[in-house]
Symmetry: C2
Subunit: 496 residues, 2 copies
Amino acid sequence: IDVGSPATSHWVREVWEFVREDTDRVIFSLKAGLAVLLVSLLILIRAPYNVFGTSIIWSILTVALMFEYTVGATFNRGFNRALGSLFAGILAVLVMQVAMACGQIVEPYIIGFSIFIIGAATSFMKQLPSLAPYEYGFRVTLFTYCLIIVSGYRMGSPARTAMNRLYSIAIGGLVAVFVNALVFPIWSGEQLHRELVGSLHAVANSLEECVKKYLADDGSSLPEFSKTVADDFPDEPAFRKCRKMLNSSAKFETLASSAKWEPPHGRFRQFFYPWPEYVKVGAVLRYCAYEVMALHGCLHSEIQAPYNLRCTFQPEILDAANQAAELLRSLAKDINSMKWSLHGNLLKRVHSSTERLQRSIDMHSYLLTSTHEIHDCPAKLPESQDMSDQPKESESKNEQNNLSNAKLEQAESYHEAMRKQQRRLYSWPSREVDDFEDEDVDNKIIQKMRAFESTAALSLATFTSLLIEFVARLDHLVDATDVLAKMAKFKKEYTS
Amino acid sequence: IDVGSPATSHWVREVWEFVREDTDRVIFSLKAGLAVLLVSLLILIRAPYNVFGTSIIWSILTVALMFEYTVGATFNRGFNRALGSLFAGILAVLVMQVAMACGQIVEPYIIGFSIFIIGAATSFMKQLPSLAPYEYGFRVTLFTYCLIIVSGYRMGSPARTAMNRLYSIAIGGLVAVFVNALVFPIWSGEQLHRELVGSLHAVANSLEECVKKYLADDGSSLPEFSKTVADDFPDEPAFRKCRKMLNSSAKFETLASSAKWEPPHGRFRQFFYPWPEYVKVGAVLRYCAYEVMALHGCLHSEIQAPYNLRCTFQPEILDAANQAAELLRSLAKDINSMKWSLHGNLLKRVHSSTERLQRSIDMHSYLLTSTHEIHDCPAKLPESQDMSDQPKESESKNEQNNLSNAKLEQAESYHEAMRKQQRRLYSWPSREVDDFEDEDVDNKIIQKMRAFESTAALSLATFTSLLIEFVARLDHLVDATDVLAKMAKFKKEYTS
């Protein structure tokens, strides 16, 4: 192989990245090599070979099929293998006794029939949703049963065949379990813990990225949606992580069910550590992430609020999003360090910044509705300010006054921007289906334009509503994390 | 077992339901039983036993580990097994020759070292994302290599051991493949096809269910969000199917990669049938479904548009949703029957009903913004009607006039309803974090109330925006399905 060629070096770099991302991967490989080497020694060295004989090759098979990435998964698979083999062994011996009692002619028929029945039964049962996690156990039952009963038939003494098989499987299983659990163990629990923390960060980053793009971009540079679906939004790494997280429910459940098999270890020194709570927090987090998906949908929507209008509410939107992201990161930090601080202050800040956003939307809601009414607005604005202009809050109100005036100026240019965006707006719907009536076209277009403009402006309301809904769901996330912290006995911290 | 006990009968009913849902499951079980029976016969009957000897038990193992649900998956697994075994066999014979040439003392060291290297290398490579689909192949390579080299070392003639092993694996593999493909075959392609059609129906049903609930319910009977997250929205079967579909991307990809292994069959008589296109249509459909998730989020949001306001736009919302669902169902029907009609008319109808919704929102947008301005509205309404009151469209305009008047009446009672909902609205945010300032509370509350009211009203705008965005994404779905139809050579139909 030519190491200098670009394809090879690209591949080497890829493998190197893969290793650097998680060095446990190399450790696992070396452990797997060690485990098969250890069982092979039982044949390669003369002393154990004289004791066990060639049936020890079943140990090698067991190690190769049973050695999983994490300790919990290996335990789980070992349990499946042990129970399946044991059940198959007992059943095979019983059926063999019955068959032998029935005489030599009937014997093969009984054996054949029993093999068919066991094959069909295990294949059916492993499909049942409630038994699906034990799929491997059913596979083991099937082939162990066949092997024992068939070789018993040809070589006699099925009980001895069964025993031989079982103890070599047991040796293989024990080697696999010991190597996996004692040599640089990789714990499912630790992985689950890290996965949850990573998911919280992913959602926080994705939210910030999405809001930042929404406010920064004037819409012209956004590629078309259909294209970006295909090539996976290459310029939005945080979004891709968040979307990956949406598909991780199966991963969470697998890790949690493996983690249940693991003894207390490392940071998780409690018996019956509440692993299922991680899955629940993950589920609530996923519900928050759905809102981020919807926000992202707004960002790439073909009907877009004009840039100026988005700028009008920039400080409030940005503040709310940043506060929400901060809360998520604080949750992630707490879970990561297994400490628990009260999140009251942070929640307070998120809520008040969301309220500020709501109030701002409320005060300038005329901007969101039909643009042809824009000239009535200045008359209305003072009235809404009169109502809220109380002496006790004069400072913050002054701020708001300035804000309002700035917004008013922006609103003037907004109408202008709207006209510029016309072409883009009119390009929706993208398929030409509206050219069937040619009478009164001009009037129709004007009407349609107005409806589009209104929808476009309201899309900002959609964006903020989704953001507010995201914040509302954070309450549930904090609650779920609270439960986790209590059950896992995180250390309490009172400085928040 | 007491068959009459409620637990048993419940379990029996569950199994029965599982079978009735898809009878292929029983067929698969019987086929698996048949396959193991067939290979077992090679030992049970004397003639083949005299030819093959006991090494035929490896065929049983092969069948048990290789027999998969669909034809494509079995082919794929068989390919992995064949290539893995072949590679392992060749490598084992080569290493054995080298080891034997090095002399008796060094021999076991070389063998042990090679086992460790192979164990570590296969375990590492099967983790690489690009090689992950061949995971089973690497497992097979590992244990076949160990078995051949170890038993070769103890029994001599590794080449003969390897040959024996390989042909018994080949026999097992052939039996598995033939039984799977010739006796009531279950095709991945057929499953993928059905899965896509089912997903289209799931999204259509979920959309209709969600919109219906949104319009029918006055909000008081909706259970709290956090509770329903836990118990999975029991009263929304269509939504649960849709959510399941969101997590089905892995399933689509597995089926498509299995389907590639299948020869032309049944309805799919074309070589290189475009299975990957199914995955693409599924991806675009998932993007549509994210909007349904967001709509569902609106439905269960704690900040809710008042019932009256929702009723105001009921006909338009309902019409748009129904049209969109009909388009989805028509796509599903077309794919199902492998025909292709032009969906221009349906798209036209969806777009025009969406436009009607946009126009209606535009005309009555004052309802969505600050409620304290409601008394200015009647004065503004005629103006917007003047603009659109063109003689040529008098009929539809009259309709709209009546509609507008009705809406005006509803708007009056809307203010009333708003007051009633106050308690519910004020319950948000659900955590008590706002009681830190006690000065000027009344005024603050009034201000806050107004902001909440505005947000609540705007939540209707959010709902409609999401619906419109859903419709916009349908264009992409139709495009993707168009490509599929062309590449799969669906029969064209010109009556739409």
